[in-house]
């Protein structure tokens, strides 16, 4: 739960999602998954308020 509040990635959840939605395709490694996650979340400029 703390993980989600902070907006941290969840590799286990990703594996579940991947198995359910894209069966047959090889999933990303933890390292690739993290790199992709961070670029997506912060790459567009994380919104932080004043």
């Amino acid at each position: 739960m703390v993980r989600q509040i902070a907006g941290a990635p969840d590799y286990q959840r990703y594996l579940e999602h991947h198995a359910a939605c894209h069966p047959g395709l090889p999933p990303l490694s933890p390292r690739e998954h993290y790199a992709e996650f961070v670029t997506r979340r912060f790459g567009g400029g994380a919104t932080r308020c004043c």
């Binding site: 902070a6 941290a8 490694s29 993290y34 961070v38 567009g44 919104t47 932080r48 308020c49 004043c50």
Partner: protein, 682 residues
């Protein structure tokens, strides 16, 4: 029979009791003259109002105005991709949303506005959030959720017209530049001549790099573990800072001037925007999120445990506009200064950003949008309490620039005595020793006085021990998340500039093309860096002119958001309820336009930029040309902000008229209805 009757009557009795408690608390606060009131009354007035507003007004908005429908699948459910569109538990998302909207604004604004006494700030934080800020956040979150998480700018363009869209975009960019300048100035003023503070903040950079490397290479994705290491190292740096401040060589190394620090901030901001996000930006963001939530909760508990006495009067004589912290009367400047805790246009960017993509059920937007903003207002009330626990003499000695107070404790006492407050000889020196600082005189910007207030509240729990440690903890807490905003804001500004630049020359819009990244980052940093540097060398401290500009810009963005909200409500056929967004819009327009007008044209050189330029021209200041140029630049900026408000209001009003007079079909661009698979009311 009696039991049944009781069950029906009891809830009404409870709500009546809460309303009565709130009304009593406000009466105690407003009527107290001379005798001291406790912080408990401020909390009671606020919390009772929040509870009533959430139960009745937010419910009215949810059911009657927005007609939230849990049978309708949210974007998180329809577009679930396991990444940004993820159905999230509402309490988890509440924490996430709060961490995104809460920053330094609700803490610094009420601290500065305390020059009017504690009452104006308290009243506006509570009234403003209930009818303004929370309504804005809720409306934009709802509208963005119905549009698959579209941004405010996109909604302005699609639902109002392209003029409003362009105006919104320019407003966002301008507010970003001013916001970053003023926040960076707050940090510079807090770390200036403070080796202990600077040491901790300097340590956050290697700590963040270490965390970034850990999360990417050593243990990919282990954010909690890396954050725990980061926080442990941060607390070590906090304790080690004392030795740095006591050691003659080390303390010389970490004692920097304001100009030196502002250059360091500018260089840091540039690198934060250019470097990959995993290295610096994301680890800092995690660190500051944990620290922010932890400290806010701790402070709330400490205030409840200690219920500190209020030493500030309800109202000071400075409501007439003669205030030394910043110029201007209580109307409109209390509203401009409080800013984020009551209503913040910036929140419209978050409410149309990540949060709408994570909502599981439509009805939960009431808790997230309206409830999230109530929590932000509560943070503002804690800042009011921190300010009001300071003795007024100490408050003014810390927040009034040296140009007014003079350089010594004696000169400050004399000036403060003229205002009718007392500052004992040696009191500021003793306080500085207690807090582990060289001096606390004229430490403007609000952060140091907030830190003193927080230290005395947090230290009060442990019977006043370790005040210096608590003081620097508070400074670290503020500086860390301000720097997170500087990182993120520079990056957002850079993207917007690239998007705008692409209209002139296509390749400039390629967000991962290095030459474009470097040029756009340099331009954004130069923009806020200019205002920061001028603020640092300003003899009146800079906060004086920059904070009102920031407040005007932020409220202006809120006006843009409310224009978009009103337009869509009318197009949805909800014109009967358009007053819910029109009333705060009318108030904000009145406040920003009055404040903008006074900042530009007021005859008092303390208040009006142009009058100040004239008075400098008559004098013989060494740097007169620069001061005059800056005054004119600030005046131009204020005029541009006012023009943007007028353009957006006019463009929206035209749409309202076209739709209401049936000259134009009321088309809304909502995503189509898809039945939710989740059980309703589960």
């Amino acid at each position: 029979m009696l039991a049944l009757k009781m069950r029906r009557v009891l809830p009404s009795l409870v709500w009546f009791a809460i309303a009565a408690l709130g009304a009593t608390a406000f009466a105690v606060l407003a009527l107290s003259r001379g005798e001291s009131v406790g912080a408990a009354w401020i909390l009671a007035a606020g919390v009772a109002s929040y509870v009533i507003a959430y139960r009745f007004y937010a419910r009215f908005l949810a059911i009657k105005v927005f007609a939230l429908d849990d049978r309708r699948a949210t974007p998180a459910e329809r577009l679930n991709n396991g990444r940004d569109f993820v159905p999230t538990n509402k309490w988890v998302l509440y924490g996430h949303h709060f961490a995104a909207i809460a920053g330094a604004g609700p803490l610094i604004g009420p601290m500065l506005a305390a020059q009017f006494g504690f009452l104006p700030g308290t009243l506006w934080l509570v009234a403003g959030v209930v009818v303004g800020g929370a309504v804005q956040d809720f409306t934009i979150l709802f509208l963005s959720m119905r549009r698959d998480g579209k941004s405010l700018g996109q909604m302005a363009k699609e639902e109002v017209n392209s003029v409003a869209g362009m105006a919104a975009m320019i407003a966002i960019l301008a507010i970003m530049v001013i916001l970053l300048a003023v926040l960076a100035l707050v940090v510079v003023n807090a770390l200036k001549a403070s080796p202990w503070g600077l040491f901790i903040i300097a340590c956050t950079i290697p700590i963040a790099l270490l965390m970034g490397w850990w999360m990417r290479t050593v243990r990919p994705g282990h954010v909690l573990e890396a954050s725990a290491i980061g926080i442990a190292l941060l607390l070590t740096a906090l304790v080690a800072g004392r030795w740095v401040s006591l050691d003659p060589t080390w303390s010389r190394w970490f004692t920097w001037s304001g100009t030196g620090l502002s250059w360091a901030m500018i260089v840091y901001g540039f690198f934060a925007s250019v470097l990959p996000v995993w290295l610096l930006l994301s680890p800092r963001d995690y660190l500051s999120t944990f620290l922010k939530i932890g400290t806010v909760l701790t402070l709330a508990v400490a205030i409840l445990l200690t219920l500190p006495p209020i030493r500030m009067p309800a109202l000071t004589q400075f409501t007439d506009g003669t205030g030394p912290v910043f110029a201007g009367k209580v109307f409109p400047f209390a509203f401009i200064t409080i800013a984020c805790g009551a209503i913040s246009g910036f929140h419209a960017l978050v409410a149309s950003g990540t949060t709408p993509k994570m909502v599981t059920r439509e009805s939960e937007t009431r808790l997230l949008g309206y409830g999230g903003m109530l929590m932000e207002s509560f943070v503002g009330l804690m800042a009011v309490i921190a300010a009001a626990t300071l003795e007024p003499g100490v408050y003014f000695a810390m927040n009034v620039p040296a140009g007014v107070l003079g350089a010594t404790g004696e000169s400050a006492s004399r000036v403060i005595a003229q205002w009718g407050f007392t500052l004992q000889p040696g009191q500021m020196e003793a306080l500085a020793r207690q807090m582990g600082e060289a001096t606390l005189l004229s430490r403007t910007g609000g952060a140091p006085s907030l830190a003193v207030g927080m230290a005395s509240i947090l230290g009060g729990v442990v019977k006043g021990s370790g005040l210096a440690l608590w003081y620097h903890f508070a400074i670290m807490f503020e500086a860390l998340f301000i720097l997170t905003t500087v990182d993120a804001g520079t990056r957002v500004g850079r993207f917007m500039l690239q998007e705008l630049g692409a209209h002139l020359w296509k390749p400039f819009g390629r967000t991962s093309w290095y030459p474009s990244i470097v040029v756009s980052s340099a331009l954004i940093v130069a923009g806020w860096g200019y205002f920061l540097y001028q603020g640092v060398v300003d003899p009146l401290g800079g906060i004086n002119s920059l904070w009102p500009l920031f407040g005007i810009a932020n409220q202006l963005l809120a006006a843009v958001a409310l224009c978009v909200g009103t337009t869509i409500l009318i197009k949805m056929g909800k014109q009967r309820y358009a007053w819910t967004t029109l009333v705060p819009l009318a108030w904000l327009a009145a406040v920003t336009l009055t404040a903008g007008w006074q900042k530009v044209f007021a005859a008092d050189p303390r208040l009006g930029f142009l009058a100040h330029a004239r008075s400098v021209a008559r004098g013989s200041a060494a740097n007169a040309a620069r001061l005059i140029f800056n005054d004119r630049l600030d005046a131009l900026l204020a005029l541009a902000f006012m023009a943007v408000v007028l353009v957006v209001v006019a463009a929206s009003a035209r749409e309202w008229w076209l739709v209401l007079s049936r000259r134009k079909a009321p088309v809304v661009n909502e995503a189509a209805f898809v039945e939710s698979a989740y059980a309703v009311g589960d």
